[in-house]
Amino acid sequence: MNIQFKKGALELCVLVLLNKQDHYGYELVQRISDQIAISEGSVYPLLRRLKKEGYLTTYLQESTEGPSRKYYQLTDMGRIHMHSLMKEWHHFAAGVQSILKEGGQDE
């Protein structure tokens, strides 16, 4: 699959997951890789970029087992960004879907 395409989808997945609740890195990566085949490491550069762009913030929280973990939290700006990405995604997906349907009729 096209890398840029995949990255865009990955960004949307991260934002939507964090919209529901805060996650620490490992947890977030597992949530995504359970559904999509990705190089798990690529989530971290994405998280750093989203943080730099002001869409996410981080905080440390003690865990019951072991040292504290870095949690990622969606900002208001991130939520706005997520909604616009979702809109784009739905538009895109609907377009692809209708083309697939047209193609399917011929077969």
Binding site: Y24, G25, Y26, V29, G41
Partner: protein
């Protein structure tokens, strides 16, 4: 590849980043390994799922360079803004001061020649007092004619000055708007 090898490879590829940022990144991956192993995975399995540290570093560096371009372009934007302000100052000197001097010159010379024409008989009579030999009837009538012309010219200049002043003020306003508009861009 185990945790140590993975982190070492990542560290190597991130040598261009500041130590603080590099350590922060390494810390994220350490945490990832630690949580993974606490869930019963081997370091090798985790490294395998993460993918190549070189690829991860590449993605991190891309963000770094993008940021650099953004910050330098904002610096160049500042320079652009400064240059624009200087340029506009110069622009004002040429565009505003030039016509202003030109118009003032026209008005001054108009008023001066009108005035001179109007008082030309007086000047002529003064001249005769100094040099009585230069008197001629033609010159006297000519200066009287000039007086009429001068008075007309002065009246004309009065209206011309009012009109030109109004026009110039409007031009000045237009120019200020132009400058403001330029600053917005």
């Amino acid at each position: 590849m185990n945790k140590e090898q993975f982190l070492h490879a990542l560290q190597q590829s991130l040598s261009k980043l500041s130590e603080e940022e590099r350590n922060d990144i390494l810390h994220d991956f350490k945490e990832h390994f630690d949580v993974g192993t606490s869930e019963g995975k081997t370091e090798e399995e985790i490294a395998q799922s993460l993918g190549s540290p070189g690829q991860i570093a590449k993605e991190l560096m891309a963000t770094y360079y993008l940021e650099k371009v953004n910050s330098s372009s904002s610096t160049s934007n500042i320079f652009k803004a400064v240059w624009a302000v200087i340029g506009l100052g110069f622009f004002n000197i040429v565009i505003v001061l030039g016509p202003f001097i030109g118009l003032v010159a026209v008005l001054v010379s108009g008023w001066a020649s009108g005035g001179a024409f109007a008082i030309s008989p007086v000047l002529y009579l003064l001249n005769i007092l100094i040099e009585p030999a230069s008197f001629s009837l033609f010159s006297l009538f000519f200066t009287i004619g000039l007086t009429g012309l001068g008075i007309l010219l002065l009246v004309g200049m009065f209206y011309a000055t009012r009109f030109i002043t109004k026009l110039f003020v409007r031009y000045l306003h237009y120019n200020v708007n132009l400058v403001k508009g330029g600053m917005k861009g």
